[in-house]
């Protein structure tokens, strides 16, 4: 089991580094030169050159990448071009809301999806099951920002129960912090739960047709107990393996959700810095986001190892 973890972790580090290269190249190769963008096309060549130098943009790509990556490891990424903030401290500060939002939604959606998906599967021949599946189907089609706005309209504007914006650290005022995170987390988890639910349903229906379920029934289990005691764990396995593909969507959604609810997180900073051309910030934030995605994938991998004993033994036998 431990070996599975180490292997997955090593893979994650490699992927993060490769991803960082991709991001770096994307930023450097596409589009205009940052100095021109900032100063305009009418700027003098000298002004452009001196700006480039102050940003370190005149160095070779290797040098730039090198200093960036070493900055990531040392925790020193310098200041934003606009000099308004220190990049590394800003990023660290913003981790809290983002991590609460993303991991919170993931942890909530998995059990909820399992519960609803199993219910839908058990009732798949009745309209109840199909109705749940239909709702999930519609849920898939709802963009995160729309769902956010709808929830705001219902719960913040109409009922006034929950705040539409604003955030307070969970360490300073836990009560308010939780209240302000309810709608954002609800938005994000509803979206991913819809995807997972359909998946669990399909998976569970497949499991119900497996031979070991027949054995369970032959032992005297009712269909319901057989489904939960035997089927659930096996049905969860494909959810974990292919659910990992949904992580990207989850993170993409979190960027949108942060912006709709103006949460001071990574996603919000990403948008503002992209629009103000803060290349180093965007680069670093992208890397952070990539790492969050990879960690979630790692979490799913571990879950897979826990759920399926066949994997554990395959690894240790190597």
């Amino acid at each position: 089991m431990f070996r599975v973890f180490i292997k997955s972790f090593a893979l994650m580090v490699v992927s993060a580094l490769s991803g960082s290269v991709v991001i770096f190249i994307l930023l450097r190769s596409v589009g205009g030169d940052i100095a021109t963008v900032m100063l305009g096309t009418k700027a003098t060549p000298e002004a452009l050159a001196s700006l480039r130098e102050s940003f370190g943009l005149n160095r070779s790509w290797f040098e730039q990448y090198g200093s960036w990556i070493s900055g990531v490891f040392s925790g020193n990424l310098g200041e934003a071009y606009s000099k308004q903030y220190v990049i590394s401290t800003e990023i660290v500060q913003r981790l809290e809301p983002t991590l609460i939002l993303t991991f919170g939604s993931l942890f909530i959606s998995i059990p909820v999806a399992l519960a609803i998906g199993v219910y839908s599967a058990m009732n798949f021949q009745r309209w109840r099951g199909a109705a749940v599946d239909g709702i999930a189907q519609v849920g898939l089609a709802i963009p995160q920002f729309f769902l956010a706005l709808v929830l705001v309209i219902v719960f913040a504007v109409h009922f006034g129960w929950l705040p539409a914006t604003g955030y307070v650290s969970i360490f300073t005022e836990p009560g308010t912090a939780i209240r302000s995170m309810v709608l954002p987390i609800a938005t994000l988890s509803l979206g991913i739960t819809a995807v997972f639910t359909r998946f669990v349903r399909t998976s569970m229906i497949e499991q119900m047709n497996e031979d070991y379920m027949r054995t369970a029934k032959a032992k005297g289990y009712t269909v319901r107990s057989a489904a939960i005691i035997h089927g659930l764990r096996n049905a969860a396995i494909p959810l974990v393996t292919t659910g990992a593909l949904q992580i990207g969507a989850l993170i993409a959604g979190s960027v949108v959700v942060e912006n709709v609810f103006t949460l001071p997180g990574i996603g919000r900073l990403l948008l503002t810095s992209a629009l103000t051309r803060e290349a180093i910030t965007v680069q670093s934030l992208s890397l952070v986001i990539l790492i969050i995605i990879l960690s979630m994938n790692l979490f799913m991998d571990l879950l897979y190892g826990i759920l399926d004993p066949r994997i554990r033994h395959k690894e240790s036998r190597k």
């Binding site: 992927s15 490769s18 991803g19 991709v22 991001i23 994307l26 930023l27 596409v30 589009g31 205009g32 940052i34 963008v37 189907q137 519609v138 898939l140 089609a141 709802i142 963009p143 920002f145 729309f146 706005l149 709808v150 309209i153 504007v157 539409a164 359909r198 998946f199 399909t202 998976s203 229906i205 497949e206 047709n209 031979d211 027949r214 292919t242 593909l245 992580i247 990207g248 969507a249 993170i251 993409a252 960027v255 949108v256 912006n259 709709v260 990403l270 948008l271 992209a274 629009l275 051309r277 803060e278 290349a279 965007v282 680069q283 992208s286 986001i289 990539l290 995605i293 990879l294 994938n297």
Partner: protein, 295 residues
């Protein structure tokens, strides 16, 4: 291993029996076609006619809720929302079309190439596509927006950037399986070129999977484009798009909830339509496969 296995696997029998009635008709497909047909029709009509001039300012009727003359109501400047939606669909569908097309073309080629190559290249392909899949389009779009600037091009590139590895991955598995079949090997020993085999054998067989995937990707493209436009990173004014309409509606969410709700519902219907087509096709074309769930 025992030499005979005359009894059919019990599970296969049960699953086949369960699928029998389901595969004969697909209400999802029909519903999907109706919904998307409606949206596509509106888009086409919008090139020739809209109820009002979408940019026609009419301060008298600002922020009116939906009524008989303005089906979706009006915005802050009195412009008809339904007309804006109609015109906005041009942009959204254009972006979806181009990115899906690029993703399909490049992704399928890449996937086929990977399927045909040996072990080593196959492993390289898996690793690289893993990274590509891990980077969500919104992230890429924002990265591109930093240097390329916000706009339609960034969005199209960003979406395609993700579609290519996703399509490639969907294609590679089945393609490999087909290439490993005996009759394909036989064809190769008969001197048929690889390309010929690919086109005659592999493509028709992965066709259904790719078609289903296309529908799903189209729906995804619409969602991503709308989200990016909502954030302000998509098509820039004067081009209008659904996301931009939603973005404008946000500050007015208290006074004019219809401004967010109706355009949003429109987006949902469109995406739902394409998803249903994908689902419906999946059930029809390959009843066994549909049980597994496509990306």
């Amino acid at each position: 291993m025992s030499e005979s296995n005359p009894t059919v696997n019990a599970k296969q029998t049960r699953t086949a029996l369960a699928n029998r009635s389901g595969a004969t008709k697909s209400p999802q497909l029909i519903l999907g076609i109706i919904l998307t047909g409606f949206v596509v029709a509106i888009t086409i009509i919008s090139f020739f006619w809209t109820p009002y001039d979408p940019v026609g300012i009419d301060v008298e009727s600002r922020l009116t809720p939906p009524n008989l003359s303005h089906w979706f109501g009006t915005d802050r400047l009195g412009r008809d929302l339904f007309s804006q939606i109609m015109v906005g669909s041009q942009n959204t569908l254009y972006v979806a079309l181009v990115s899906t097309g690029v993703g399909l073309l490049l992704g399928t080629s890449l996937g086929l190439a990977a399927a045909g190559s040996g072990q080593r290249w196959g492993a390289v392909f898996t690793r690289i596509s893993d990274i590509g899949i891990a980077l969500p389009s919104i992230l890429i779009a924002l990265v591109l927006a930093t240097t390329l600037g916000p706009g339609r091009l960034s969005v199209i590139v960003a979406i395609s950037f993700w579609f290519v590895p996703v399509t490639a991955r969907v294609v590679v598995g089945p393609a490999r399986q087909i290439l490993a079949l005996d009759f394909v090997e036989a064809a190769m020993t008969h001197g048929r070129s690889r390309l010929y085999i690919v086109f005659r054998q592999v493509v028709p067989n992965i066709g259904p999977i790719v078609i289903v995937q296309t529908s799903m990707m189209f729906a995804a493209a619409i969602l991503i484009e709308a989200s990016l436009s909502f954030l302000g990173v998509g098509a820039q004014p004067p081009t209008t798009s659904w996301g931009k309409i939603m973005m404008d509606s946000q500050p007015l969410v208290q006074q004019a909830p219809y401004y967010s709700l109706l355009p949003g519902a429109f987006i949902v219907i469109t995406v739902l339509g394409f998803n249903l087509i994908g689902d419906g096709l999946a059930v029809l074309l390959d009843p066994q496969q549909s049980k597994k769930g496509v990306v």
